[in-house]
Symmetry: C2
Subunit: 149 residues, 2 copies
DNA sequence: CTCGATGCAAATCGTTTGCACGTGC
DNA sequence: GCACGTGCAAACGATTTGCATCGAG
């Protein structure tokens, strides 16, 4: 069901995260540790600027952009696009089956995580009919939240 | 079903389009006529830069941005976001029930229009459970087209 | 010690805007 | 003629990149 805050996706431990970096022969630096630790405690996707503001002097903005790109590339972080021209990033939760979507208020930008998705056969049928392989999708909902109505 | 090119959405006549502008007391200028006429003949969404390239000296890039914004505002054009940081625009087809999505090749960006959508109850249920009103969604598919496999 | 990572600043890219001029109606 | 629309250039915000330095392994 749609849930407001503190979604129940189990966020990975920092030790587990740094271990993943180590496995790929990537360095565990202060900035990277700080970024991962911050994302671990976020219920919703964050923009790079928000991460920058939260980390203060802890990390350069360019480093955040570079880190996010790297983390997305290795599948530890997922990138979302809410149509306002700013990328948002969310830590992928433990199991890996953290496929979910968002419902964003058009007025105040309040976000609710949506765990449900449409039946998989819908997408399978599209893949079959088109001949495309490895089909994925992006799906976000927009509306007006109770407060803003 | 998913179809390759020349989707069957009936594109509006230029005369019908300019009539809509007139109704809103907006001026029918050369640039606007050229933009609408170009969009009428496009099977897929176009970026502003593509429109600019297609129109050559016919219209300034800033005018294209301003026109698209205006056309989206009055519901004659729909804006799409394929996650690459560039907005794309498509003329809304005649009836108005032209709600559709796209399947984009991750390799060559080839686009296929998808007319189907998931059952409306799915979205209704999300709206009901969250208390959000006027809920809409963005949904795009990504995969690897037959040619690029 | 070595190579990847960082900070800083400059560059790029999509998009927006200020302003003087041009033109539908 | 007036208000809206346009062209041109400057401004902007998000993201990327070049380069010298720094630090994890």
């Amino acid at each position: 069901m749609a849930h407001d805050h503190a979604h129940e996706h189990p966020k990975q431990e920092l030790s587990s995260l740094t271990e993943q970096l180590r496995r790929k022969a990537l360095k565990i630096t202060g900035p990277r540790r700080r970024i991962l630790d911050l994302l671990r405690n976020q219920p919703h996707p964050m923009t790079n600027k928000e991460v920058f503001a939260a980390l203060g002097e802890g990390c350069d903005l360019a480093t955040i952009y570079r880190s996010m790109h790297m983390l997305v590339g290795m599948g530890m972080v997922k990138r979302y696009d809410f149509g306002d021209g700013v990328a948002r990033f969310e830590l992928v939760s433990e199991g890996g089956d953290d496929h979910h979507h968002h419902l964003i208020c058009r007025e105040c930008s309040k976000i609710i995580e949506i765990d449900e998705c449409f039946p998989g056969e819908f997408q399978d049928q599209i893949a079959a009919a088109s001949g495309y392989r490895d089909v994925t999708h992006t799906l976000e909902f927009f509306g007006v939240c109770p407060t803003c109505q």
